[in-house]
């Protein structure tokens, strides 16, 4: 009996100790890798390539953070999450950050107790239909069957859009993008709706992309960005400034081609010097090494390079920069100064 009591007490004590979590940064360093939540597979944003290595626009953010914190862009454990499981995975601590084309909204930020650290893609919700339906506007979709990923903001926007325009529809709730694609191609729904970038990525993976059109209406604002849990501001700052470093690097003309040269010695541009750690002590201020931003940028290149490589105009997805151009070129990408 004595043994049982002691063992029981030990178990209770052990569990209690496990529950009181330390700061995320220390956890990540102790573990030696970063747990990053991504989608279950969306070409261009986050999907494993032929060798099983995760690639994509959102994946690049994870890799940049891992490089900044651990010095190794490959030290990332990717966790596939669906629209429904992603927030629980983050809230429960299963993942350290979520980079899964997730829309920044008021209630997610405050009610769900998350912290969006920035925007890596400005998007909006669109509709894709087969060309043969002959539909040219979303307002002609009265009575249509619409495939939709459940647990997303697009689900709510869709309900609002059809209600406001006083037209009816039949929602077909679906868990993942892959299932939605299959249902849409099988003709089980007339329309597939999600973020316009997601539609472009999905269409690019079709056998005959030309047979499908994306309707002109963009019915919502969908600022997509990485997020972390509320309450650990140090960790939030690291993810935020890793993303800002990528954006700032493009603005200052720091690329993966010239970064070695620029970081070997102080340059004429003090912004670049502070960013790359050749001047000042910005790294120490967020608890990282002086060359953290250099490592983050070297992981996949700057923001523009990542964009071009994963979803840009020369890729099958073929998205133009649009709103996602640098602010100097008429877009919304704007990093606060590194000072």
């Amino acid at each position: 009996m004595k043994n049982t009591v002691i063992l029981g007490a030990l178990t209770v004590a052990g569990l209690a100790a496990g529950a009181a979590s330390a700061a995320t940064l220390d956890d990540v360093k102790a573990r030696g890798n970063l747990n990053c939540g991504v989608s279950t597979g969306l070409t261009g944003f986050s999907a494993p390539d032929a060798n099983g290595v995760w690639q994509g626009f959102d994946v690049a953010v994870c890799r940049a953070v891992a490089a900044a914190v651990l010095g190794d862009p490959m030290a990332v454990e990717f966790v596939s999450t669906t629209g429904q499981t992603r927030f629980t995975a983050l809230a429960s601590g299963e993942i350290d950050m979520l980079a899964r084309n997730t829309t920044w909204t008021f209630s997610r930020d405050n009610d769900l107790k998350f912290e969006f650290v920035g925007v890596n893609y400005y998007d909006g919700q669109g509709f894709m239909v087969p060309k043969e339906l002959g539909v040219s506007s979303a307002k002609e979709l009265d009575g249509a069957t619409v495939c939709i990923q459940t647990g997303t903001t697009t689900e709510l926007n869709l309900a609002d859009f059809f209600r406001v325009n006083n037209i009816s529809y039949e929602p077909v709730p679906i868990e993942t993008n892959a299932e939605a694609q299959q249902q849409y191609l099988a003709g089980a729904c007339d329309v597939y709706t999600t973020d316009a970038s997601g539609l472009a990525a999905t269409r690019a993976s079709f056998e005959a992309p030309g047979d499908h059109v994306i309707l002109p209406e963009i019915i919502s604002k969908e600022p997509l960005g990485p997020l972390v849990r509320h309450g650990d501001s140090e960790w939030g700052d690291i993810v935020r400034w890793s993303l800002n470093a990528l954006i700032a690097a493009e603005e200052y003309g720091v690329t993966s081609a010239n970064i070695e040269e620029l970081s070997s010695a102080a340059t004429d541009n003090p912004e670049i010097n502070r960013l790359l750690g050749t001047e000042g002590e910005l790294g120490a201020m967020i608890g990282l090494e002086a060359d953290w931003a250099k490592k983050a940028i070297m992981a996949n290149g700057n923001y523009g390079e990542i964009f071009e490589k994963t979803i840009g105009e020369n890729t099958p997805i073929g998205l133009s920069r649009g709103l996602n151009a640098q602010w100097t070129e008429g877009g919304l990408m704007y990093s606060p100064p590194f000072r």
Binding site: A16, Q84, L133, D160, A186
Partner: protein, 410 residues
């Protein structure tokens, strides 16, 4: 004889709690209780602590907030402006619908397969063995997904029905089988005096119930007459008349007509739309649970002494009558208790609905609502409570039935 004397009285020693058999069990129970309480209180305090760390509170107020999402299959009025609570009720009704349909079909399939597996016909019994082993030994989720995929991939899209020479056509111009589900004719009522659909159906059900009661009285009368005179009066035309005429008259009075599904815009309109998600889930749950029920039925029948069959045959009773009147009533006593747990399993397994996008309570309250409001703990507790109450209800009702068929001891 020597007189037994009590050993000299000793004071109570602490070690007696463990070594004295009089106290040992009590000690063990008390310690186990304390450990259990400690574990439970740790769970609660850990939850409270973690909720505090996350800055969350414990509040069911979200149930009265507008939900903002649409649900395709709804048995009651619901739109995106309705509350999360109502969305949960819509989900609950959908769960109940598939559970009731599933339990009914699974029982029918299970009883047939269980009886046939004992058949003397080699082919029939082996076919049933293949069915039982095939469905019992492959995970349910795979069957759900497989049936759903078959239905969406192998049936034509609604647009295949369009045009002068369509690729697909409707069965008897009444039933359309598409990859979005099956559209069947619906019964509507045109009479201006009977506009409330639910009320109409309840009225029809009441009349039908009265008819069935009258039929049972009629048969009772026929049996009495047979026992008194030896002649059984011919009653089949009376029974048929009682069954059809009152209900038929009532429906005529209500102006019932068939609303045929027809192509309207993108989809079929009119009629009743049985979605693929419902059909796939229903069939998969029934086939899967039916395989288990078949084994239970087979076990129940084998549990009845062979002497019973032989005695019945010796009396000249035909095999089918023997099965219905001698074997099955006795087998039921063995079958009912494990059958209850199969019904419970089916009901709880219906929460796999999300795999095919069927909007049951797990998908509405436990899925979208939790996701949109971030109330995981509250939502999961409510969900658990619902399944608990439902299971206890089913179990209670089945236990009442079990009490009515079990061996009466007087």
């Amino acid at each position: 004889m020597t007189t037994m004397t009590d050993p000299p009285g000793q004071g109570f020693r602490l070690s007696q709690l463990i070594y004295d058999t009089r106290y040992r069990s009590l000690t063990i129970q008390v310690v186990a209780m304390i450990v259990l309480m400690l574990l439970f209180s740790w769970l609660v305090s850990n939850t409270i602590h973690n909720l505090q760390t996350l800055g969350k509170d414990f509040d069911f107020g979200f149930l009265t907030q507008p939900s903002g999402y649409d649900i395709n299959q709804r048995l009651i009025e619901y739109d995106s402006q309705s509350t999360h609570g109502r969305a949960a009720v819509v989900g609950i009704l959908n769960t109940l619908l598939v559970a009731v349909l599933g339990c009914a079909l699974a029982t029918v399939l299970g009883v047939i397969a269980g009886v046939l597996r004992l058949s003397n016909n080699w082919l029939v019994s082996r076919l049933m063995a293949v069915y039982v082993e095939g469905f019992r030994n492959v995970p349910l989720l795979l069957w759900i997904v497989l049936i759903f995929a078959l239905m969406t991939e192998s049936t034509p899209a609604p647009r295949a029905f369009r045009g002068d020479t369509p690729d697909a056509s409707m069965l008897f111009d009444a039933v359309a089988i598409t990859n979005r589900g099956v559209y069947i004719p619906a019964i509507h009522f045109a009479s201006p005096f009977f506009t409330n659909g639910l009320f109409n159906w309840l009225l029809i059900l009441a009349v039908l119930g009265a008819s069935i009661f009258a039929i049972s009285r009629l048969r009772h009368w026929a049996t009495e007459k047979q026992e008194a005179t030896g002649d059984r009066p011919t009653t089949w035309y009376l029974i048929l008349g009682l069954l059809i005429v009152p209900t038929g008259l009532l429906m005529l009075l209500m102006g019932a007509f068939l609303d045929m599904p027809s192509l309207q815009g993108f989809n079929f309109g009119g009629g009743v739309h049985l979605r693929n998600s419902l059909i796939a889930l229903w069939l998969a749950l029934s086939l899967y649970t039916g395989a288990f029920i078949a084994e239970i039925v087979r076990g129940g029948i084998l549990a009845v002494n062979k002497g019973q069959t032989e005695a019945a045959y010796a009396l000249g009773i035909r095999p089918s009558t023997t099965m219905n009147l001698v074997i099955l009533p006795q087998a039921l006593r063995v079958i009912i208790p494990p059958l209850i747990s199969q019904f419970l399993n089916l009901t709880k397994n219906s929460s796999l609905a999300i795999a095919v996008g069927y909007m049951d309570v797990r998908s509405t309250l436990g899925g979208i609502t939790i996701n949109q409001t971030g109330r995981e703990l509250e939502g999961m507790l409510l969900l658990g409570l619902f399944y608990l109450v439902l299971s206890l209800l089913i179990s209670g009702v089945m236990n009442v039935y079990n009490a009515s068929v079990k061996l009466k001891e007087r």
